[in-house]
């Protein structure tokens, strides 16, 4: 295609600008003194301060929700990727009756609206005295994370050539050893992508974290930010500083693994 029309470049420049502007504005505001936030907003930085970030960690103990989020998202990811890999291997590479139905049902569960299981999960966690605890968040997170991991991993395992473990099995290895010694190492990039996506989804989750925690001691980052209150007015400076911090880990992950993430997203959806 030798059509050198300028519009693709223009569209893309607009796109990058539109994607970036809210971030630029939030980052700028997070360094701007509260008193100047809404007075003559200027697009260029001037007189920046670190007050909001300092207040976040001294007045609001913002490290608490960060720690909670890391624990909950990390545990969910490890649990789902471990069990999900076994399940996905069987679904992708073994022959057995009911396979298609099983895969379809797992996908269907992944599409449940979260709100439709909030009431029983709440009653269940209350009965087990797990409201406002880490297991009380990890358990509900499995409802969406487990189907997601299985679905993505099935996509990745299917892409591997079929002769892989057959060669190992001819050499006398059993199914499980072939899986562990041949498939897992080869599929490691796919497994890592799945882990990243599961982590990002769990880090970002809001509804369950809002429903099943009671106070700051177990709130995750998104819940903590959404519930920030000031004494007299909305503490925008601190909210935006917290937003910048909450965005940081996922942004770094995305930037480091962007090619793989795009692959993961499209493997699951388009070719699925």
């Amino acid at each position: 295609m030798k059509l050198r029309s300028p519009w693709p470049a223009v569209v893309l420049a607009l796109l990058v600008g539109a994607s970036a502007f809210p971030f630029y504005w939030a980052i700028l505001a997070s360094f701007t003194p509260e008193a100047r936030l809404f007075r003559d907003p200027s697009l260029l930085p001037s007189g920046l301060v670190l007050d909001h970030y300092r207040a976040l960690f001294t007045e609001r103990s913002f490290w608490l929700p960060i720690r909670n989020s890391l624990i909950v998202a990390g545990t969910t990811t490890i649990f789902c990727v471990t069990l999900g890999a076994l399940c996905a291997y069987a679904l992708a590479r073994l022959e057995f009756k009911g396979k298609t139905l099983l895969l379809g049902s797992i996908l269907a569960v992944g599409m449940f609206p979260q709100i439709s299981v909030v009431s029983p999960l709440y009653l269940m966690l209350r009965e087990l005295r797990l409201i406002n605890t880490y297991p009380g968040l990890v358990l509900p997170y499995l409802t969406f994370a487990m189907p997601l991991t299985v679905w993505l991993l099935v996509g990745f395992f299917r892409q591997l050539p079929g002769e892989l473990e057959e060669a190992a099995m001819v050499d006398g290895a059993g199914r499980l050893r072939a899986f562990w010694e041949v498939i897992v190492p080869v599929a490691l990039p796919g497994i890592a992508t799945t882990a990243i996506l599961t982590f990002v989804y769990s880090w970002n989750e809001f509804l369950f974290a809002l429903s099943f925690t009671l106070g700051p001691e177990r709130q995750t980052v998104p819940v903590a930010i959404a519930l920030f209150r000031g004494q007299y007015q909305v503490p925008w400076g601190q909210i935006l500083a917290a937003a910048v911090i909450a965005t940081l880990p996922v942004t770094l992950l995305v930037l480091a693994f962007q090619r793989r993430i795009v692959q993961g997203l499209t493997v699951g959806a388009v070719k699925g």
Partner: protein, 305 residues
């Protein structure tokens, strides 16, 4: 796929291994998803108000559903959800398609573009809601300042206290966050189209528009449908975005069904009624999925077993 003939004994053995591998994940899903879903349905047939424990939990049949059907706030929230889904998904598809076409043509700066589209997608929805709320906040947020400066507005609008204007930041925030995802899906679809088709069309003298209309669109149909499915179902359960942006307000004028359900459950502690609303949300999403699978089934599984 696999050509090798197998003996029945080996097949049985393989099935046994397969089920052993599947079981842990499957049990987890049954325990945390399927079982609660059935429980919601059962709960929805009871009067269960956690504020009034002395009432117990009597079985009342379909009364909760009757109450929902005559509840104006329920119908309102359903209307808001549908309005939100149609506007935001519509905009996302149109803009996403334009972006995908441009991305497919561009040879330089793909890495930058990919990062620019992925980051809004990857950040917590609550955060994107707050970024947009900040830009539309009060009289002197940046949006008002820019629009007044450019002469679009004579005087600032207080967006978030107007029942109609409050939708603007809500829809914009959703479009901002999800268009990248749509564009990526459509781009993957575009890259699967055989370029020789375009050459053939050009040789036949087809204009760019006709090529788009008769080659690109039909071949992109599966990808468009997939994007449509994912986005509509997502839009129908919208919660985080509106909770953090407008809180459903002013009043209840931007309250979607998931937020109303959440309020019934965890604000008013009406577990029976809230569960009935949950079941309704589930059934609507389920029907949407069925319709889509029916349309898509013909498209996607046609070539495959």
């Amino acid at each position: 796929m696999r050509g090798a003939e197998r003996q029945p004994g080996i097949e049985q053995q393989e099935a046994r291994i397969a089920w052993t591998l599947v079981l842990p994940a499957l049990l987890t899903i049954l325990l945390v998803a399927l079982f609660p879903l059935l429980w919601t349905a059962w709960e929805s047939l009871h009067l269960h108000d956690l504020r009034m424990p002395w009432l117990g939990r009597p079985f009342i049949g379909l009364q909760n559903y009757g109450e929902a059907l005559s509840d104006p706030r329920f119908w309102g929230s359903l209307g808001h959800t549908a309005f939100f889904a149609v506007t935001s998904v519509g905009l996302e598809l149109i803009i996403g398609l334009a972006l995908a076409l441009a991305l497919n043509r561009a040879f330089r700066g793909r890495g930058l573009v990919r990062a620019a589209v992925l980051i809004p997608w990857a950040i917590p929805t609550v955060v994107s809601a707050l970024l947009w709320r900040f830009m539309f906040e009060g009289q002197s947020g940046i949006v008002n300042a820019l629009l007044v400066d450019l002469g679009v507005l004579r005087e600032p609008i207080v967006w978030l206290i107007d029942p109609v204007a409050a939708w603007v930041p809500v829809v914009l925030a959703d479009v901002w966050k999800h268009t990248p995802f749509v564009a990526l899906l459509l781009l993957a679809g575009l890259q699967n189209i055989d370029t020789s088709l375009y050459e053939a069309a050009r040789i036949d003298g087809a204009s760019a528009w006709r090529q788009f209309r008769h080659v690109t669109l039909p071949l992109l149909r599966p990808a468009i449908l997939v994007a449509l499915i994912f986005r509509t179902m997502d839009a129908f359960r919208v919660f985080d975005l509106i909770y953090a942006l407008t809180g459903g307000g002013p009043g209840t004028s931007t309250e979607p069904i998931a937020l109303y359900t959440f309020n019934a459950l965890l604000q008013n502690l009406q577990f029976g009624y809230g569960s009935a609303l949950s079941v309704i949300v589930f059934l609507i999403t389920f029907c949407l999925a069925l319709v889509y699978i029916k349309i898509l089934g013909a498209d996607l599984t046609g070539g495959r077993r």
